[in-house]
Amino acid sequence: MNHIDTQIINRDAVFCSNVVKAFGRGETRTQALNGVNFSARLGEMTFVIGPSGCGKTTLLSIITGVLAADLGHVEVLGTSLAELKGTMLPRFRGENIGLVLQQFNLLPALNLVENVAIPLILQGVREREANERSIRLLEELGLAHHLPKHPYELSVGQQQRVAVARALIHEPRLIVCDEPTAALDAETGLKVMHLLRETVLSPERAIIVVTHDDRIEPFADRIAYMIDGRIEQVVGCDQYERVL
């Protein structure tokens, strides 16, 4: 932590104010978020922790712009998501946000290089260049021997590394991880978290991790505890040095 410029740390990558989201109507109506106030800072790894159904994934969906809030204000990297109309929102997400998902969601028809190159191709980068950058990144992440393989030929830990590479390839300033260790055993989960902490996190980048897994809490700079659609408590942590 001490290597990070304190001025950068204080900048909010994500700022949510009084965010409300409900699903369904009438008797089936479910209040997923009930006035959430949340922030995540550049240079920090912020965890969102809470029981199942508390609204963690809904909050993540709203931060990434794949769901729209019913009420409230959501600002990501200084941009109000409500102001992004039409194709601006997916473009903004494609350029500024990297996703690491619980089930990795790699495309089985594509090999590792092609999977990782997708965000670049969606931004209009030529396929050849995108693949070259993808290869370089996969080599950096220790997957050099697996480049031509397809996801189903890898272990789950390796698949999650590929997913991390896909989240990083376009150098986004916000990485959002949804239960990144849920499908992994303890040892592999810790390795992935080390990867995120050591390689992915930087002063110009924020990471938000939604998790149930209390084994990885020591990796957090801050933890937001969520219950019944609200952030109940935010605590700062200084435990990372202990897991190293």
């Binding site: 994934t57 993540l60 969906s61 990434t64 794949v66 769901l67 194709t87 997916p90 473009r91 997400r93 494609g94 350029e95 996703l99 998902l101 619980q102 089930q103 969601n105 495309l107 089985p108 028809a109 594509l110 092609e114 997708i118 965000p119 191709i121 969606l122 931004q123 396929e127 896909r166 949804d178």
Partner: protein
């Protein structure tokens, strides 16, 4: 993005095969049945096509098509010859009758009796001999395929004897006359002799074939003939079209072929629609991932459209190839289906019909791609 679309498409070989098979199946049916239909419609006007340079066909006013002519009195020919603007007018006798080859088989024949001296209306395609050979006693010309049907396996050459209504006819020439709609054998002989082979009936003149001098509008001459003789006079082209229209309107050919073609489209599109729906269902989470990673709906629509286009193109190419191979195999000059072919515009029509059908049948699946929520990537 195209490469991505192709890899996703080719990643599921079983469904890709199903999609291509569906398109190919429909394409084969449309093209093959369409080709057969066009071939049949060509056959119904074979006499007109073989007559070549005849400008005007004159007939009884009640005659609607070339294969069903009400005979006229021979004197009508003389009246037509007297109309200003007529360069030449020749008689044509046309009748269907049973024929038996001596030492061979019995078949149905179309007998065409042409002008004794000018041979107007006779086919131009003589393989062995020429119209002049018909001057010999009992001489008759037969088409090659007709000969092969009467004497299967025997070499095609003049000299054989035919029986027409118990009368003798000697083959002196072999033609490559255009195939007829119903008759299996096509015979040409001079007008006077032809009428002897079909002795019943007082009137024998089926048509008067008129040629018009160069520079004179045949339409004007046709109108003049109608006015002066009370007969019906049609230009060759319009008589061909009238014949085709007659068959389209008065036979079950159209409905039969249309039913087969529509069934082909429906079955083919059902296969394509269902398979593509399964393909999209299986890939829906991947489309959602692409959306979550920043793909716009427009880009996704382009990706899916590209996949559909590739499947359409491959299936269409295979289907057209199979249909072409069918006609190549069955429509040789000596086969029963000779003359059947795929007109150049048939594949274009097929492609248009297929594209439209595929767009309709895959639009529901495409809609699902467009409405899938990127948020589903966060759900397990």
């Amino acid at each position: 993005m195209r490469s991505l679309a192709l890899k996703i498409l080719f990643g599921d070989r079983a469904k890709l095969f199903g999609l291509i098979a569906g398109v190919a199946f429909a394409t084969v049916l449309i093209t093959q049945q369409g080709g057969l239909f066009v071939g049949l419609m060509t056959r119904v006007q074979n006499v007109i096509a073989d007559a070549g340079d005849v400008d005007i066909w004159v007939m009884d006013p009640s005659t609607e098509q070339v294969n069903l002519a009400k005979p006229m009195r021979y004197a009508q020919l003389l009246k037509v010859r007297g109309v200003p603007g007529v360069a030449s007018a020749a008689p044509l006798f046309k009748a269907n009758l049973p024929v038996r080859g001596q030492g061979g088989k019995a078949r149905t024949a179309m007998l065409l009796g042409v002008d004794n001296t000018t041979y107007t209306g006779i086919t131009k395609r003589f393989l062995i001999g020429s119209p002049v050979n018909l001057r010999q006693p009992d001489a008759i010309a037969i088409d090659r395929v007709g000969f092969m049907r009467l004497w299967p396996g025997e070499p095609v050459k003049p000299g054989k004897i035919l029986e027409l209504n118990d009368r003798r006819a000697k083959i002196v020439a072999i033609t490559d006359a255009a195939a007829a709609f119903s008759a299996q054998v096509i015979l040409h002989t001079p007008y006077n002799r032809a009428s002897k082979y079909v002795p019943h009936g007082r009137n024998r003149l089926s048509f008067v074939l008129v040629k018009v001098p160069t520079g004179i509008d045949p339409k004007i001459v046709a109108a003049e003939i109608e006015q002066r003789t009370g007969l019906k006079a049609e230009l060759s082209q319009s008589f061909s079209e009238a014949t085709v229209r007659y068959y389209l309107k008065n036979t079950g050919i159209t409905i039969n072929f249309a039913t087969t073609i529509i069934l082909g489209i429906v079955v083919g599109m059902a296969i394509v629609g269902l398979t593509f729906s399964l393909f999209v269902n299986d890939n829906l989470k991947h489309y959602a991932v692409l959306k979550a990673l920043g793909a716009t709906n427009f880009r996704l629509a382009k990706l899916v459209a590209y996949q559909i286009a590739v499947v359409t193109f491959i299936g269409f190419a295979i289907g057209t190839g199979v249909a072409a191979a069918f006609f190549e195999l069955v429509s040789s000059p000596t086969s029963a289906l000779r003359g059947f072919f795929i007109p150049w515009w048939m594949p274009l029509i097929t492609l248009a019909v297929m594209s439209l059908s595929i767009i309709l049948s895959t639009s529901i699946a495409l809609r699902r791609v467009l409405v899938v929520e990127a948020a589903t990537v966060f759900r397990v």
